[in-house]
Each structure stands twice: as C-alpha cells, then as structure tokens.
Symmetry: C2
Amino acid sequence: MTERARVIGTSVPKRDGADKVTGRTRFLHDLELPRLAHGKILRAPHPHARIVRLDTRRAARLPGVLAVITGADVVQHPFGFAKDQLALKTGKVRCVRDEVAAVAAETPAIAEAALELIDVEYAELPAVFDPEAAARPGAPLVHDERASNLTDLRYQFSHGDVDGAFGEAAAVVEGEYRLDFVTPACLGTMVAIAEWDLRDQLTMWSTTQVPFLYQRDLAHALGITGDRVRVLQPPVGGNFGRGLDLCPIDVIAALLARPARRPVKIEFERLEEFVACPTRERCIIRLRTAAAADGRLLARDCHVVVDNGAYVSWGSTTPYVMLSTVAGLYRVPAVRFDTTIAYTNNPYSGSMRGYGNLESTFAVESQMDELAARLGLDRLELRRRNATKPGDANPQGFVIGSCAMGECLDAVGAAAAGLTPPAPGWKRGVGYAAMFHVGGGARIYKSDGCGAIVKCDDFGKISLITGATEIGQGSETVLAMIVAETLGVPLERVEVVNSDTAVKPWDVGVHASRTTFIAGNAARLAAESLRAKLVGMAAEELDVPAESLRMADGWIFVADEPQRRIAYDRAARAGHLREGGRTLVAEAFYDPPTGMLDKDLRGNVSAAYGFAAQAVVLDVEEATGVIRVRRVVSAHDVGRALNPGAAEGQIHGGVHMGLGYALSERLVVEEGRILTASFMDYAVLKAEDMPELVVRLVESMDEEGPFGAKGLGESGVIPVSAAVANAVKDAVGVRFTALPITSERVHAALGGRRA
Amino acid sequence: MTERARVIGTSVPKRDGADKVTGRTRFLHDLELPRLAHGKILRAPHPHARIVRLDTRRAARLPGVLAVITGADVVQHPFGFAKDQLALKTGKVRCVRDEVAAVAAETPAIAEAALELIDVEYAELPAVFDPEAAARPGAPLVHDERASNLTDLRYQFSHGDVDGAFGEAAAVVEGEYRLDFVTPACLGTMVAIAEWDLRDQLTMWSTTQVPFLYQRDLAHALGITGDRVRVLQPPVGGNFGRGLDLCPIDVIAALLARPARRPVKIEFERLEEFVACPTRERCIIRLRTAAAADGRLLARDCHVVVDNGAYVSWGSTTPYVMLSTVAGLYRVPAVRFDTTIAYTNNPYSGSMRGYGNLESTFAVESQMDELAARLGLDRLELRRRNATKPGDANPQGFVIGSCAMGECLDAVGAAAAGLTPPAPGWKRGVGYAAMFHVGGGARIYKSDGCGAIVKCDDFGKISLITGATEIGQGSETVLAMIVAETLGVPLERVEVVNSDTAVKPWDVGVHASRTTFIAGNAARLAAESLRAKLVGMAAEELDVPAESLRMADGWIFVADEPQRRIAYDRAARAGHLREGGRTLVAEAFYDPPTGMLDKDLRGNVSAAYGFAAQAVVLDVEEATGVIRVRRVVSAHDVGRALNPGAAEGQIHGGVHMGLGYALSERLVVEEGRILTASFMDYAVLKAEDMPELVVRLVESMDEEGPFGAKGLGESGVIPVSAAVANAVKDAVGVRFTALPITSERVHAALGGRRA
C-alpha cells in the first residue's frame, strides 16, 4: 500500500456513466445475433384455475413460427427457492403471471400473433389472496399436494427473557405495520437469450446478478449439469435484487431454443415487466417494544406475516433480515421473533434492495419515536442512548467491529436548519430513523467469497478479471480504484472484466451490499500478489533488493532514493521481453471470516456492519394531505468512502427509492390481478419530485474492509420510509403504519382538518 | 500426468468444425452493433502517381455519410515492418492498392456511392515492377526520400569453405527458380471494426492472428499507447499468415471511427480481398549445390531476390526462413546466402503459411533430384544419406533434438504402389521432397512465450484462458485435450477462451507452427498447477497425503487403493463451499529455451524442429500437358500426434495449398495491376481436383514438447511444389523452375510431343 492514497478517497465518475447518458451502452436488449429467434410467453388470465385444454396446433401452423411449447412438450424440473414451480405450468395455474405456453418465431410480432392462436380452456378455482386467511384450515389450497398453504419457511428466534422485560418495562409500544408490493421498476426490462451449441452446451445472455448461482439453478431446472451452462452478462438497466432469483423467462428461453434450433431472445415489454418482474413482498409486521424509563430498550417481540404468493422465492426469506433489524437495530437485550409465511394466489415476490430491512426498520423506528413520546425523551437522544457501539455482540451473535452509529445520529441533527419556513396551511415535520445492515458480506451460502485475477500487459494495461457483477452500482469503478491504489498505477490503466462465467472466477453475486467489501478485498489481494511480482522484476532491473522498492504514480522506486526508479510498464516489459521472461498474472480468492447462521439463527454472518441515520424534513398541506419533502439528511458509516461521489450517488438512489416506497409507489394487486402496469399508474418519483439531499459520509475505517471500506449499496433506501412516517407524525400528529403515505391517505386521516 | 494417455492420441473432431459446416459460426462479418457505421476505402488506380488534388467535399455532402477522411485530415504515424507507409497515403501513391481516402456511412452502399464522389487528380509517374531493375541506379524511386530502391533488409550468411567445397565437388548443380505471387484466398475476407469509447480507448474487432503485436502496432500507427487498444477476435474464415501484418484496413477503421463517432466496420468484398490481402511474395532464388561422389552434400550457395513491392512487410523477411532451409534441409557443411530486396511499384506481400520455406524447398529439393541424376544415385537414397539426425547442430547453430527425418523418407517409398497404371498417352512420374521447419516456436521476438490461466468451477467446468489464437488450425481443440489429459478430466468439461486481449495472457500470436508447442506447454503447466491445488483439496477430503493421489477419468483416487476416490468436481466444491474455502485458478507462462538469431543469423531459434517427406505421384498427358495428381504421400515427424485426425487434417489442408501453388494458383500482376481478382480467374483447387492423400504420422516424442508434440501447421504445404516439379520431371523429363506448372506451360515445354 502506498503511504498516501492517490486514488482511494477521490471522487471518480462511474465508468459506465458516460456511455449510459449518451446512449452508447449496449444493453442485452440491443444484442442481435444471426438467426436470432424471438420468444413470447403466454400467461394465465386467472389467479387460480385448472388447465382443461391447451392446444397449440393453430399457433404452430402460423408462418414464421419456429417452436411452440407447453409443459407437456418439454423436460423441465422444479426450480425456485423451494423448488415448487415449473417454468411452464402444468395442471393448474396459481397466479396471473403463470406461464402456460411459449412461442419462438422469426419476429416478436409473429410470436405475439402466435400467442393469440393458442387455445386454452380454464376451469376457475376458488382463490385466496390474504396470507392470514390462506393459513387458516379450509382455505383453498394453492398447491394441492400440500396439507396447508403454510410454506416450509419459518424464522423463529428467541433471546433473553422477553416476557419478563415486557413485564417490568416503563413503556411498551406496539403496532401492526402493513407493507405492500412495490416493484424495482428497472428501466431496462428483463431479457434472456439462450443458445444451445452443437455439443449441447447452453450459453445464456442474462440480466442475472448472481451468474454462478444462476448457472447452478438453471442447469438444475433443465436437468443438465452446471458445467454445460455459460452465462454472459451484458450491461443491465437496473436490477436492485431482481436478478437474484432464477425466473421462468430464463428457463423458458432455454427450453424454446432447443426445438427452435436457434438462439432465442425473450424480452419483456414494460407491461410484462410490471406483471412478471420480482417485487418487494407484501407483509404484516406486528411488533412490540419495551423500554426502561431512561429510554433503554428492554425487549422486542415481533411476528411477521408474509404473503408468499404462488411460489416461494427469495422474497419470502426476507424475515431473515427483518430479524437482524429487530435484534440488531439499537442495543436490545431480549428479542422474540416468529413468522407466518403462507402461499396465496397473488404474484410472488423476489429480492429487492434492502431486502426486508426497509419493512422491519419502518416498524422498529416508528416505535422508537413512540417510545420517545411515551417517555418524554428527545427522539434523537433516545436513539443515542441505545446506539450500537464497536465491540458489541448482539442477540444473534453478530460481532460489531467498526461502528459509528452515534456519529451518524449526531450528523443528522439540525436537519431543518436554514430551510424557509413552511407556507401558510402547511405543517413542517422532522423525522429520524437509523439503520443497521450487513456491510462485509453475508454468509447465506456456504461460500461468501469472490475471486479475482489481475494481469499486466507489456503496455502497463492492468486487467482485473473479477467474479463480481456490475449492475449499475459502480462496482467496476471502485474495483479499478482498489487495484490502481494497490499497485500505485494511474486509474485509467486499469480495465475491469466481469461478464462471462467461463472467464471470471467464482462469486456469490450482487446481494447484501457485499461487492465493494468482498470483491474489493479479492481485487486487493490479487493486486498485491501482482505487485510483488512486478516489484521483483523492477528489483532485477534496478539491481536493488525488492524490499527496498515502493510503487506509486506508475513508478517503482527505491524508498530512500526515489530518483532511482523505473516506470512500472517498463519493468513489465523488461521482465517479459527476454529469454526466460515472464508475464504478469496473479490471482486471489477472498472469503470473509464469517459463519452461516445456525438453526437458531445465531452466528456472525458478516465481516462488518454498516450503520446510518437519516433525517427527513417535510411539509404537509393540511387541507389536501399533500406532502412535500424538503430535505433528507443521510449520514452513513461507510467504513471508508473509496469513491465519495459514487457513495453519495448510491445514497441518492437509495433515498429516491425509499421516498417512493414511503410516499408514492404501490403495485396495486387486487384479487390477484395487477392493476398498475405502466408508468402512468405506478408512481416512481421523478427528478422534479426529489428534495434536497444532504449526504454525510462518516468514516470508521473498518479493519477488515478494503482500505477500510464497508458495504453501502442498500443503506440509503432502508431508513427513509420510517423517517418519513416519523416526520409526518411530527408535522400533523398522525401515525401512519402502512405505506405508501399518499396524499389521499393523509387527507383521509386528517379528515379535511382545515377544510 | 496420468500413466496412460486417455485423451492425447485420440482423434477428436475440431471444436469449431460442426458450427462451421452448419453455418452457425459467427464470423466477424456477422457482427452487428447498434449505431454501426460502414467504411469503404478509395484506392489508387495507378501503380505510381503523384496526388495532385484530392477533394472530398462532394462525398461529405451525400446524405448518410458520417465521415470522409484523407491523409490530410488525420493524425497518423508510419507503420509496417520498416515503418515506411501511412494508412492513408499523402503526396503520392506507390502501388494500385494504395489507400487515398475513406468514407464512413450509414450503409455500405452509401459509403460506396460516396467513394465515387471523391475527386482525385493524379499525375502518373514512371514506375518499376522488376526488383532487379528497381535495384539498378537510375530506376524510378518508389520512395523519393531514399537513395535507391534497395530496402534496408539484407540477409547475409556464410559458414564453412563454400568456394573450396564447390572446387572439389563431384557434382555441382545450379538453377534459377522463379516464384510468383499467390494469395491465401481465405474464404472469410478481411474485416475490421473499430470503436472509440468516451474515455478515448479503442476496441478493435479484428481478423488479426497476432493480437498483442497488433495492439502494439496499431497503437503506434495511431500515436496512442498500447494500453488504450483492446483487441477482440471473433472466429475468422482462414488466415494462413494474412493476419500477421497490421494492415491499412485496421488503421483506417480506427481513423474513421473517430470523426464518425460510431463503431465503424470495414469489410472487404472478394475483389478487394484479392487486391489488398497480403500475398506470398514474388522472388527469384539462385541456388548452387555441390555434392561428393557418394552423394554427400558439400555446400550450397544461394542468392534470393525479393520483389518487395511498395512497402516493406513481413513478406520481405521470408529469406530469414529460406536461409534455414538452405542451411538446414539435409546436412550441408558449407553455406553462403545473400539477398537483394528491392522496392517496386507492385503490391506488397505479407506472410503466408510456410513463409519462405516453400520457395527455398522448391529450389533445394529440385537440386537434390538433379544431383541424384548427375551422380547416378537413387533419389531417396541420396536424401537418406544426407538426412538430418538427432543431435545435429546445423550451420546456423540450430540444435536438433527429436528427429525422424530418415523414417519420414522411408515412409514415402513405394508411393505409387497399387495405383492403376496411367492411361494411354499419359506418363507417370513420382517426385520426392523433404522438409525442415521450426517445430518448437521461433524466437523472432524477444519473447516467444505464451500465457495460460486455468480455472475450475464448482461444476467441474474447466476454463483454459490461453494467449493463443484460433484461426481454424484446431488449436482450441488440442489445447483442451492437453488440459484434459493433464488434469485427468473428460475433454467435454474443458472450455477454451481466447478472444480478448483484456482477458487472455500474452502470446506472440499464430506463426511459425508454434501454437501446439508453446501454448500447449503453457496450458500443460497451468493445468499441472491447478491439479496440485485440486489434489490438495481432495487430500483433505479423503484424509490422505496429496502425494498418494492420482487423477484420471474425472476421479481423484489413492494410487494404491483406487476405490478410495472422489469426483474431481466434488473435491472442488468441498474445497470451496465452506468457511475459509478456496476456488481453483492457476496460471503459467511458457517461454521456450531458445535464443534469437544474432546479427550473423546464428543461434538456436526453436526448441524443436519438424521434419517431413512427401511423395507425389502424378500423370501427365503429353498431348495436352494436363497434369493429374494421383496420390500424395506425406510423412511427418510430428513428435507426437496429440489429435491424429486434426494433424492429418492440417496436412491435408497444407497439401491442398501446396498443390495450388505447384499447379494452378497465380495472382497475375502485370505492370503493377492485379488481373486475377475473382475465383473465376484465380484457380484454387476444388475438392474434385484433389488426389488421394496418404498421411503417415511419425512420432519421435520430443522431450520439450507437450506430451512429446512438435509444431505441424505449416509442414504439409512446404514440400509439395518441389515434389510435384520432381514428379513432372520424372514423368516427362522436363525440369520446371517456375511455378505454377500449368498445363499451358507443360504443353509449351513438350512442344506437342505427341501431337
């Protein structure tokens, strides 16, 4: 490591940024291949129905149609988190997105026309849309072969004397918090291209964000071995967790490509994206919190009901993270947690940025404000008294290393300072919320590692081949920075390669805000190994011991005699372009020093933890219920801001998504049908809707993190809705326990207070 | 290494074969990109002329034209072997392929139309087309700034007492051999796509076969550093040496892409391919050979005149290899060699398979037959008496390791056995020729190395990322075999990746039949390193010392107790999918133990040498001069045939190309103009023209070669034309010293003998 960071800590534009804003990025949508066929999927029109007849003969006869398949025509295997669905449904359909047939044709229009020619007769079945109703005996069974609609998922945790704590508490608050479906609304819809070669090996071009798990899961769904699947990842237009599940689109593309004997591309239109893209799950959180008179938290007791939808997906595993919040956001000695996760005939969810933590933080932080009110304490002071500190071990056994939660809370005080007062008829409120999240990976799989290969060519061009996946989060930029800093070479000499599973070393994928930390450490280790080789070459050229040499600014020089130096690329050439020469390639694998949670959900799942606090300042017009967010102050313990501009950008994006969750976004699903299927109906906040954002990066310099960094990708989105709800309460005195807090709801709650 | 080879030595279909014959291969021609612009080049109509006026304004105004450039509009730097040309010529043109302007447009048709609108006025200059005339004082100067038309290239060598040897010889033969232009006639024409990104980094999709040298040379021509050039190599439809030079098409694509602000594709049509694809050079070889009465060679004296054409290319360096033949094909104690390489106003050549060795072998082996006749010795016996033996060091200092030249000569005896006798009016002849070529790389650059990275994923899929370049020669297949054999895993589990300079480690490129040997050794070393890691993981699982383990057929097992075993992919997963796990990546670089030739052209340039002998059996119709080749027997010391079917295929291809050179192919260039510019005029042999081919693979098991192998890519083509000429002489008694030996020439020489 150089003594003074040259690259780390400077704000570097994202590498993919200029291409994206100038329209140059070649997304998977843009990929054309010779002989490319286009696939379309026929979906169920009913949330629950038996398939009585399915006849594809008319469709198959349409000129230009290359293949029509149904579940009866293909060999497929159950897939998904609980292996409870087939890509092409047989027997019955369980939600309105269910896939019953697919067509490959010369053009998308022909494929679309062919869908119309598929004759399907359904017998509708009684359906169930409420998870609590679904869990009751006698409810219509979503999966006939199961005894009930309860899934096999249940997250139970208990630590300390919860009942005792509630008995002796000075204050107890409780509430039921209802969170609804939202969708990531990625600007780039889902796409899959599948191609079988003549050796029966499958190449997939995919929008996945977990290519190696995808390789495994897709192979399983197709009944082939994983070594026969190669995954290519062109740039994606957003993912936000969408790409964590293997989805029917991927399996169907592969199934279609076999009889079509062509590469087959399936590309969602916007409507289909709203219907079939994984969403954030619908859930009900029932939480009680107990505190002592001085504000010390004594216990929390939580029960979460998750609407699983028709099939189990990663979305139903979010209680895993909700528990971490309930047990780990602030010091709390006694915790009880349980879940009900039930099948319904609703669409099923997936993973989405923040992954349960938005939902649980909404509940937990709503109750922090209520406790402060109940105990007559300042809301920030209550939080400071309960703040996690370095060295803490929480009820689950998470071991806290670096932690600047207190500083984050301090940094969001006086959030409204300098703002013009609210207009007449408007009430101002300030709300606070903090956040606790993994920041050093999350060992959900047996390996939480990432590999890296670094090479240096004769021109001093450094290639980092990383296992990591870029989904717009800026990982390529920060990984290049880590390599440049480690090697002491100019940043522009470093290229990042990460789009082909046949090339890149293994990585779990993008989730749990892990890429900078895990892939960053792998890149750093590989670069250190390369540096040692390079310095060895320079030592030979300069005729000095390698130990005496340092690298910085593209030079390798004698530490005590900096004028004795050689350009690093010259050293590379000198070591290579001679008899008995060598080229420069090094590799590393980093797996963090963590463990998987045991069956009691205990263990230390991450090598570092991130903390943040937010303040939301907003004005509410009492007559109309209109909310105008004026300012969000977001303070984040990021360990170290490797690329401060990008870190700030991640937080901006998170706050944007969080404000949508809090105020405007809702995927309206009624009787299993999705009613908001365009950007005319689904209200993503526009640039003009955004308030002033103030980001404060707090550096706690994590010991395990690369150059001190911790994960950050999700922390901006997590506390927003809680802080908004607390601010609305502060402004107009009404506590909202369901999201989004729309003007209509506020207006209704205020009863036209000034009307 | 496993005890018994499982993969090596079996005939495995080429991996690219099925895709190619079924039309699935995606050549560079097939690549479409969003916003792709199409480039066309305007060439000089005169072999030598001053550019008086060059006005592109009309072309630039054509709708759909994106950019028009001339040498005046761009910053370019001289490139080529002698750095004596600009991609876009300024001042004057020196041959008819000279590029004077280029257009990028929305479509190829618009670009073509725009070329017509470029106004160029030329003042024709006296031209020179004969290299010997060009070398004389007073000849028109091709390059005005030079004192004469002699290039700076001269290959001079002298060893032993040549004049003394000629004085005491029992027989001396001499002759002048005239070789003409031929073209590789690749079915896939040359293509280049250039794209500058917003960081001003250049990505080139290219038909190059030396991507890292191309990266260097293109950067130099553009005046940028090599680290800003990334080279991508889609499959090519043949190369045969064409891709060794950087060509104007590549530079112009890059120059056009800047003002077009788009990716620009230039794709040669067939006519343009005939005009602008590098050819085999035109030359005159004057050779004398002296022998003792017992047939022992005493000396050779050779002078080669090369028609350099307008610019120096790799084609003018072929005397470097011609010398190796003159000094190294058979034992010859005294050798003198010199060259005259002169600029002319002809098109310039490039490198082409065999690279000088066809030409010099034609001369040398023609004289072997003449010596046999003069001394009354059997032609094969004369050759046997002079055959190179293992342990020889030749006059240049080449050190011969494995060598089965004698066996190869033995193997081609009785070549005509079993053939039906010639028809009435036809005369049968049998001709022999042998061949000596580098077979273990050729250190022409300071590094003759290649890098390899091998990784194994959780599914047991092995990726070999090799520096090597596949140009249809079958290298991917043989490299996969080497890795599979080294690891003891099934061949189908091994993938080869080799198409991106940002990913693959360094390699000189495809030339000198080096890939199997050099890249094969690199792959073997990397695989050995991976195997050690994998065996270490298995040792942990099986709880035995790693030394006790072996790998074969996908299993890792205890040598003495083969039933104690673990599947290799399970071992990989066990080593990875745990806390503190590792993934499997290994790398290696192999640079052969050789040296560059010194200024006197001495040294040991290759780590192994290949030998071959051929017999050609043909019938000549005396009345018409028509030649029908009946059989070619080709015996090759390949060290070891790693993939016998592919080795045979390489030889088949070589013989096809050699027969074309001998009998039918000639790029007719008259007064600097190319008159054969389609497959109607340029006579490549068709499948139905091919004789029976008998290949005998002789295995000398080279100690340094991977699994004993030596290079083979060029050896099939080298002796053919000499053997054909010797067979024609044998049949009808006429010695042809110029190629091709067409029916017309034979007819003329026979004077209508039976007419």
